[in-house]
């Protein structure tokens, strides 16, 4: 039903997820507000540039008017994106690729967000403890960044690698020490597929049963609920601190119930909205809507708390700490604001 003269904006993500459904809602709203056509694609295969690139190439061939992409492997994709940016207005969102000639980046800094998770861990267990990190894949750029962020924060140094050792209370348990924390198996546990998340968490937790000061971190949206469920099925959720990432429905529910301590959230709705808004305006010759500074991530806890300001290489950020009800209400409002 698209007419050739209408402006068309393409948004391509790095995988299929609820996170992106929220983003799509934002993008759709912007498309409505600024009267443009939207093509929103979630590549079938998660975090695979060889699936993502053909989609973008096809758009370029169609003479689309603007592309927003969640970069999977910045270092490697830069070259191709640079070439594409010469033909089509391009912005990166959710995951950046500097030097790709993109007009702007809309999103948080995953590494910084990871550090935020680390700070939450430290706050929850000031005396340190045993920590297990669960993640979909450590191969993807955002996965790497988040994990490293957490570990650096715990270790209190950049590019921390930790030290290989046996767990003081459990000689049979190999760990790496980061600051006061012992990382189970010395690495973030990859599930590579949401279906394995719960069983994996379940068997890892089983080995930690009985240890004091337990903390589990889930860095992909689906990880925290999986961890909680596993903990419950082994009745360990009482003695386990769970900290999550992203605004998975179950995670928010659990925070409200006090079963998950906190989660660090991005703003997918804004990613979508601002990407399309910016590109639509740019296509009409107005580059004012291009976003300058990174969108701050936020922390969601049961009752919220004071904002915190931190200094990053990019400058100082103020990070909001929202109570879960407010956050959820905002989220619903955002999604509801999209006309069907």
């Amino acid at each position: 039903s698209r007419r050739a003269d209408r402006i068309t904006i393409g948004v391509v993500t790095n995988c299929v997820a609820d996170f992106w459904r929220i983003c799509e809602a934002g993008a759709t709203k912007a498309a409505q507000d600024f009267d443009v056509d939207l093509q929103f694609r979630e590549p079938e295969k998660a975090f695979d540039a060889s699936v993502q690139m053909p989609i973008i190439e096809a758009w370029v061939k169609q003479g689309i008017h603007g592309i927003a992409v969640s970069v999977i492997d910045p270092k490697a994709q830069t070259e191709d994106l640079a070439r594409i940016a010469k033909k089509v207005p391009l912005i990166t969102m959710d995951n950046d690729a500097e030097g790709s000639g993109r007009l702007c980046y809309i999103g948080i800094d995953n590494y910084e967000a990871g550090k935020a998770v680390g700070r939450l861990v430290k706050k929850a267990l000031p005396q340190g403890g045993t920590i297990a990190i669960f993640i979909g894949s450590t191969k993807s750029a955002n996965g790497k960044a988040r994990t490293q962020g957490v570990l650096d924060e715990l270790a209190g140094e950049k590019d921390a690698v930790g030290e290989e050792m046996a767990h003081p209370h459990r000689p049979d348990l190999r760990v790496r020490r980061f600051g006061q924390f012992y990382l189970v198996d010395g690495e973030a546990k990859e599930d590579n597929n949401p279906n394995n998340a719960q069983p994996l968490a379940s068997s890892v937790l089983a080995r930690l049963k009985g240890l004091p000061h337990l903390c589990a971190v889930g860095l992909y949206a689906y990880n925290p609920p999986a961890i909680l469920d596993a903990a419950k099925s082994r009745s360990m959720h009482k003695e386990l601190v769970i900290i999550g990432f992203d605004e998975d429905w179950e995670t928010l529910k659990a925070i409200a119930q006090g079963e998950i301590l906190a989660t660090v959230v991005q703003d997918p709705f804004q990613y979508g909205y601002q990407s399309v808004a910016a590109l639509a305006a740019y296509a009409r010759g107005d580059s004012s809507k291009l976003v300058k500074e990174p969108i701050p991530y936020r922390v969601v806890t049961k009752d919220g708390g004071p904002d915190e300001t931190i200094t990053t290489p990019q400058g100082t950020l103020t990070i909001k700490n929202l109570p879960v009800q407010d956050f959820e209400a905002r989220l619903r409002a955002d999604i509801a604001s999209v006309k069907k």
Binding site: V16, D18, A188, N193, N195, P199, A206, D248, W249
Partner: protein, 324 residues
């Protein structure tokens, strides 16, 4: 009998290794945990095995599991009480099987192609139905389902209100189904017919067996069991994503069937074998994480173990059946 010795040996070895790997590994709660997953695997493995015995193959299993889970969730969100939703979802399974069976027998399409298309189609259906489903979302809309859902969950997956796993309900369910299927396979005419069809459908036809009808029957059973597994998945797991729910399970199911003594040439396989074959992977995965192996090593270890297992199996079979 010798057909199952190999996989039996493999299982024993794996359990031994597991129990030795870590004091808490042998504890009841862990074994129950494994058994529960084995139960769900086992159900789809039996489905796959039946199709394979009758000389076919079903690649749509994984997508059907996912689609059924999503459908189950969506139905409850839509206000259908849990029990009703379960039944409707199982009905969906029956229809999928009927579709596969009809396409294969009436239009004479290759099972591999038909079910591969099914794999895409039902994945697509799942995604059209919704994004992520979960019990909490359903209860969000319909708090009144809470009790019913809790009971269904307790009965089918053995988890209580707090979500603690009390008993391996899914494994018991597997044993129940396996017994029924085993009876059909080994004690009734239908079983004989399926084997005959798998070996030589021409001879079966000349013997007056309604080949097509029986072919359809096994596909229906297979998809039905897949749908059941989908229901269990949603009851067991915190949530199911329509794009990844059950992804790739068809391979695990077929693997279990083949490990259990089925031959993809058709006509081979026993109910006991199916159950044993299905039990392998969950133990193996549990063992691997109990040994605290690095994530990157795991696939290789799993692959090699399975390979050794099949070698052992073939070796035993050869010893007991020297063929010229």
């Amino acid at each position: 009998m010798t057909r199952v010795l190999g996989v039996l040996g493999l299982l024993i070895a794996l359990y031994a290794a597991l129990i030795l790997s870590n004091p808490s590994a042998g504890k009841a709660d862990n074994l129950i945990d494994v058994a529960n997953i084995q139960g769900r695997y086992g159900l789809i493995t039996i489905g796959a095995a039946l199709v394979i015995i009758a000389g076919g193959i079903d690649l749509s299993i994984g997508s059907v599991v996912g689609c059924a889970a999503v459908l189950f969730g969506v139905l409850m969100e839509g206000g259908i009480p849990p029990v009703g939703a379960v039944l409707l979802t199982l009905l969906f399974g029956l229809f999928v099987g009927l579709a596969n069976g009809l396409l294969i027998t009436q239009l004479k399409l290759q099972p591999f192609l038909v079910t591969l298309c099914g794999m895409f189609i039902y994945r697509g259906v799942a995604r059209l139905l919704g994004g992520t489903v979960s019990r909490t979302r359903a209860l969000e809309e319909h708090p009144e389902f809470a009790d019913a859902l809790r009971q269904v969950r307790y009965v089918l997956v053995g988890k209580d209100a707090t979500g603690e796993l009390i008993f391996p309900a899914q494994f018991l369910l597997l044993l129940l189904v396996a017994f029924a299927i085993g009876y059909i396979l080994h004690r009734t005419a239908y079983g004989r017919y399926w084997y005959a069809i798998g070996y030589n459908d021409q001879a079966a036809r000349y013997a007056g067996i309604a080949v097509d009808r029986h072919r359809i029957a096994v596909y229906v059973l297979c998809s039905f069991l897949a749908a059941l597994a989908g229901v269990l998945l949603l009851l067991d797991m915190p949530s199911v994503q329509s794009d990844s729910g059950g992804l790739g399970l068809e391979l695990y199911a077929i693997l279990g069937a083949v490990l259990g003594g089925c031959s993809l040439r058709g006509g081979e396989g026993t109910a006991v074998g199916m159950v044993l074959g299905a039990m392998v992977l969950p133990v193996l995965e549990n063992l691997v994480s109990f040994r605290g192996l690095k994530s990157d090593v795991i696939p290789a270890v799993i692959g090699l173990t399975l390979l050794l297992g099949t070698m052992l199996d073939e070796w035993i079979r050869r010893r007991s059946h020297p063929r010229p």
